[in-house]
Amino acid sequence: MFRDALRWTGTLNRRALLRGAGAVAGSLAAASALRGMPEAAQEQSAATLPSFTGPAANPHWNSVGPIVSEPQKAPLILLTDRPVQLETPRNYFTSAFTPNEAFYVRWHLDRIPNAVDLKEWRLHVEGNVSSPQSFSFGDLLRKFKAETVAAVNQCSGNSRSRLQPRVPGGQWGNGAMGNARWTGVKLRDLLNAAAMKNGSLQVQLQGLEQGEGPEGMGSRAFQKSLDLDNPAIDECLVAYAMNGEPLPMLNGFPVRLVVPGYFATYWTKCLTWIRVLDKADENFWMKTAYRIPDTPRGTTTPEAMKAGGVKTVPIGRMPVRSFLVSPDGGAKIPAGMTVNLRGIAFSGYGRVTKVEVSDDNLKSWKSVQLGEDFGAYSFRTWEFSWAPKAPGRYSVAVRATDEKGNAQPDEPVWNPAGYLWNRIERQEFVVGTAE
């Protein structure tokens, strides 16, 4: 009979509840507690998200698309299906490494590989070199020393839906990022094997992805280039393994470039052509797209853009960020209970050395416990025991600082392409009375 009194977890059956309460004296208190609840709250079932957000900022941690199941992937959040863009749900970010099947997906053009024949496929090193090379997948496994690095891959437009005013583009929440152990061959070893000629300036990367556009336009091919005098070149890997497994097709099988610390636009998927250039790459994806204002934090204003003359540079390293991942604020916390707050932090400029939380609107900060250090370019997990004493609404902010002294500011970022968002994140919690 007491079981009847617990039925309010679903749709409340008030008559059964009262019957139960009348029969058992011990359940009277529980019944009176229930009588105080508004009918609407008792009847409420889970609402679903709207199909879009705006013109205000997206208030959700993730983007609002439906959950879909793509080949070799766990159910993820759909941004677009052709080409494929999928966001990783928040719950995957409590651990330092993101599972391959949950790793976000972002392609630019719609003809992306469903299958690759390794008997035919070769990784070409060509252009301004004395000895052009074509390596099979087996060559990469056998002929070169294997290296492994833990590195965060984050889309340049991660969190684009936070910007005010909103900008067009993939309306990512925070889940266009992931961390993996990447294993492969040093890009430098491949360049050395091809013997670059004098006057080499950049290395251009191109994968199998193609589009419907005319030859020579950005809508036909996706090409990215890095300066050869950039120290990041020596940290680049051509990765054939991701978390110790083959890459999912949607994450760039057979190999993808890994540029530790840099935004994912340079991490070419299905990498097939490594081209040494003797002059600067002027293709659309370098000259026009993926550029940021040459200002502190890459921020500017719509007015400055309209006025013209905002100098831009290619996007590069990822600014420091941190996230409170769990709990997600979806459930009330009883006052007086200690809750384990968990999250991650990273920076493209080096190790995260400090993460702090504030529950008083940034007035005071407390340092959190950092998790294992997997290297300068990895996610670093953190934990904090939080004990809200009084019922009410709380906003918990999280801020990371990296070894170069870069700390997350609370000022927003704005640029026309929606890149580089790294403002301090906040999570709302509702603390209920426990008495």
């Binding site: 199909s51 759909l78 299906d81 053009l109």
Partner: protein, 137 residues
């Protein structure tokens, strides 16, 4: 309908032809299929063979809930040549001038072959359904 589908089909045919100087046998590009949205089913295991071919199933495509109105079919056909029209519904409500710039970007920067009159119809359709003043769904 006066829309020219030739380009769409030309694109599909080109997809199976020579790509970047590499033989057709090297890889298979752009296979998409059409399941239902909102129902996440468990995938069946794939039959694998121990040869040199590695692949995944076709990528699912989903119906897009574009608003009904004049210009919808032009929008579906021309925009759909290169990408799903979910690119439109995913966006926040955008000012009319931003939509104009997007249409112009597709034509001038990306080389979409959209006759001027149709480009205007598409822009008008976007104004009527996807600005802060007009967006409903």
């Amino acid at each position: 309908m006066t829309i020219n589908l030739r380009r769409l089909f030309a694109g599909l045919v080109a997809g199976t032809a020579i790509a970047g100087g590499v033989a057709v046998a090297q890889h298979q590009l752009g296979s998409y299929a059409a399941p239902n949205l909102g129902k996440v089913s468990q995938p069946a295991a794939r039959e694998l063979t121990d040869d040199s071919r590695y692949g995944a199933a076709s990528y699912p495509t989903f119906e897009v809930g574009l608003a009904d109105g004049a210009g919808k079919s032009e929008t579906q056909i021309y925009c759909g040549v290169c990408h799903t029209t979910r690119y439109i519904t995913m966006q926040p409500p955008l000012p009319a001038a931003t939509w104009d710039a997007e249409v112009q970007k597709m034509v001038k920067t990306f080389g979409a072959t959209i006759p001027e009159a149709d480009a205007q119809k598409i822009a008008q359709y976007l104004h009527e359904h996807y600005t802060p003043e007009t967006r409903k769904q």
